[in-house]
Symmetry: C2
Subunit: 423 residues, 2 copies
């Protein structure tokens, strides 16, 4: 099935906003096994919109149009859709009523120009938007079925997932239910994971499971997509493959699906009524900055300290004298973590200390990371060397610190070898 | 002049990467007074590429193609360009030599598949890429001039600015020189600045100056674009308007052109051989995280402390007892800043303390910010109330803290009223 996407709006065309709606749409379709062939962006311009609709209508089987459903004069999607389909616009009384209710529930009167949002091509099928006033609709133009969606990201997302993806799957003649399982890991490269998971797809004999990856350093996302008659069927088919991935990636799986590493860490701390102190060098406090903004973190994250050099960290956690001279060691990190616990009264402390190379930034630039986690009854630590330039070292150290804290809290070893370090 | 952009590559089409190259290109053209009419994204697919080139060649005067100039088999731009132009590919000996030198200077031997990058349509004009092996080129397809650019962002940027924009301006028959002046401000809303700057365009009587804005909370960018015979002419024309903007926005201008707020702060500190300590609540250390990663910051940013509540900040900077009970005050922030200086030995300290509202996040959610800056000979402080939801308060407080530090270092008042606060 040939699928196209048309993005509309001057703000996108002039680059005032980066087109993340498109990458969202195409990724979402990929996740269910559909591929976008062609994307077009045009502005709020009648002639270009009409031409774009006509061209896509000649090439495609299905077209998703994003934007232009708002109440203002530069929102032209319904008007041009009707023209391209060769039909009139007519008022959809049901949607008008929905909008009036929408405003009434918010104790407001609907402005007259919102009426425009209920004007749809006569041949349209309404596509529900449960959270906004922009009415989605589908209509045939040329040989393609066009699906019109709102530009507001959360409205687009809901409409695409709940309404449009099922229609596209039905149109493509694919079984109705797709289930997507995602695993997030840190420390294993994409090709390493690919070879570790060799044969996993074959565990589901009908070939309906597909394995895929999305790398965003330092994390890797491993995706399993499965097709079934319905959701229970899809989940059931996936079970052996899912179990095998969990077994083979083991301790490296730091989160699943919508979870994040920092969210998992915070949940583990919350579960045991713990509090946290963090001491960082070189990372500019980016470990604390990952945890701090999460809902609920204000009662957990007790204190963070960042400093440019070790002596400052040493004194800031109340340690007497100076840190040991010579190469940075795990023992020094342990001392800092334990002192940070004492100084702040937190139940747990994470110390991530980094000694970076001398000289200008370059691809061979590296740093030695010594980190330690102190809790009520034990201390764990590790040493690691990361290379790849200053920013790479910084990103890697932040992830390593958070992941080791996750491992500590889940009673897993904190010193498993990763693909990103030199020893 | 009708301009189009064609973005190529499976990674962009499948959403694996968000298409920031497109927003960069279109913004850059906007800045010099040119408008993109139409954008197309296609994958690494011969048929779709050819069709996209042909369609754009029918509609446009100029087309910028991004991507597909690499050495691998899925890089198809030269091949399809030749086909669409109805000419052959031929080896460009000059570029081959350039590439061989490029590898030799890096003590490497050029892999054989890089040779492909020097194969250009016979009718091409070479467009220089001084920092990479992908050769840019221009060729006519249909009625349009096509400009082929590399997908690597820094190579694209350099080629677009130095090579392609001047060619487009010449093609459009516009005076050769465009000068863009940008002012970054914090604390004034877009409509407020728009009214403050009424009449500024008229200071240049020939109408060649254009005023524009780009808002990205909490900062606002004010842009003046001017056209002239050459750069000196353009700059000369701009002078009275530029002077007037600087006068009217006054202390609110925090940086100009490529400068950033954190960069200006760091430069001011560096200039006087100063060092800095930062104490933050609620911001998760985001003030330190803005300054810390900048080149040179490691010798300036001596220590950062973040804490969930005031008592932790109080004790972490070595203050005895507990902070004053009751409402957060400027005096408390002053005490923390002064103590942070003493405790860390830094010449300057910034304390940003925030008391946020109770209850769930909502648009009326607000926070009271008390901040203070202590230096060798004086202390400055201010109190401010920001509303707009938790994240809005956080972003606003970070910007306010950094901007007050900038004002302090530039001997400007730190307590000028902003549009973003309630009093």
């Amino acid at each position: 099935m040939h699928i196209e996407v048309i993005c509309t709006g001057d703000e996108v065309l002039t680059g005032k906003i980066v087109n993340t709606n498109f990458s969202y749409i195409t990724q979402k379709l990929e996740d269910v096994g559909l591929a976008v062939q062609w994307e077009t962006t045009v502005g709020d311009d009648r002639e270009n919109l009409l031409r774009a609709f006509q061209l896509a209508g000649e090439r495609a089987d299905a077209v998703i149009v994003n934007g232009g459903l708002g109440p203002t004069v530069d929102d032209l999607s319904q008007e041009i859709a009707a023209k391209a389909a060769g039909v009139e616009l007519e008022l959809n009384e049901d949607w008008l009523k929905r909008m009036e209710d929408f405003f009434q529930r918010r104790s407001r009167v609907m402005p007259p120009n919102n009426r425009k949002q209920a004007m749809l091509p006569t041949t349209s099928e309404v596509i529900d938007n449960p959270i906004g006033t922009a009415c989605g609709f589908a209509v045939d133009i040329g040989r393609a079925r066009f699906y019109f969606t709102p530009g507001v990201p959360r409205e687009l997302r809901r409409m695409l997932e709940e309404q449009i993806v099922p229609r596209l799957l039905a149109k493509a003649g694919l079984p109705g239910a797709i289930f997507l399982k995602r695993f997030h890991s840190y420390g294993l490269g994409e090709s390493h994971v690919d070879s570790l998971l060799a044969g996993v797809e074959d565990l589901v004999p009908d070939g309906s499971v597909k394995l895929g990856f999305r790398a965003h350093y330092p994390q890797l996302e491993t995706k399993l997509t499965v097709r079934g008659r319905d959701l229970d069927d899809a989940r059931g088919k996936l079970a052996p493959a899912e179990k095998e991935v969990r077994k083979r990636l083991g301790n490296f799986i730091l989160a699943e699906d919508e979870q994040t590493l920092e969210g998992v860490v915070l949940a583990e701390l919350t579960k045991r009524g713990a509090t946290l102190a963090i001491a960082e060098t070189f990372t500019s406090g980016q470990i604390a900055a990952r945890i701090g903004p999460l809902p609920g973190a204000e009662t957990i994250l007790r204190r963070g300290v960042l400093a440019r050099d070790l002596r400052d960290v040493w004194s800031s956690v109340g340690l007497p004298g100076a840190p040991p001279a010579g190469e940075l060691t795990k023992e020094t990190a342990e001392a800092v973590a334990q002192a940070a616990r004492r100084a702040t009264g937190a139940s747990h402390a994470l110390a991530v200390l980094i000694e970076v190379d001398e000289g200008p930034d370059r691809i061979e630039f590296g740093g030695s990371v010594c980190l330690a986690i102190a809790g009520p009854d034990r201390v764990a630590s590790r040493r690691s060397r990361i290379v790849g330039g200053r920013e790479w070292v910084r990103l890697g150290a932040v992830e390593l610190g958070l992941d080791c804290l996750r491992r500590y809290l889940q009673a897993l070893p904190v010193d498993e070898r990763t693909d990103f370090e030199k020893r």
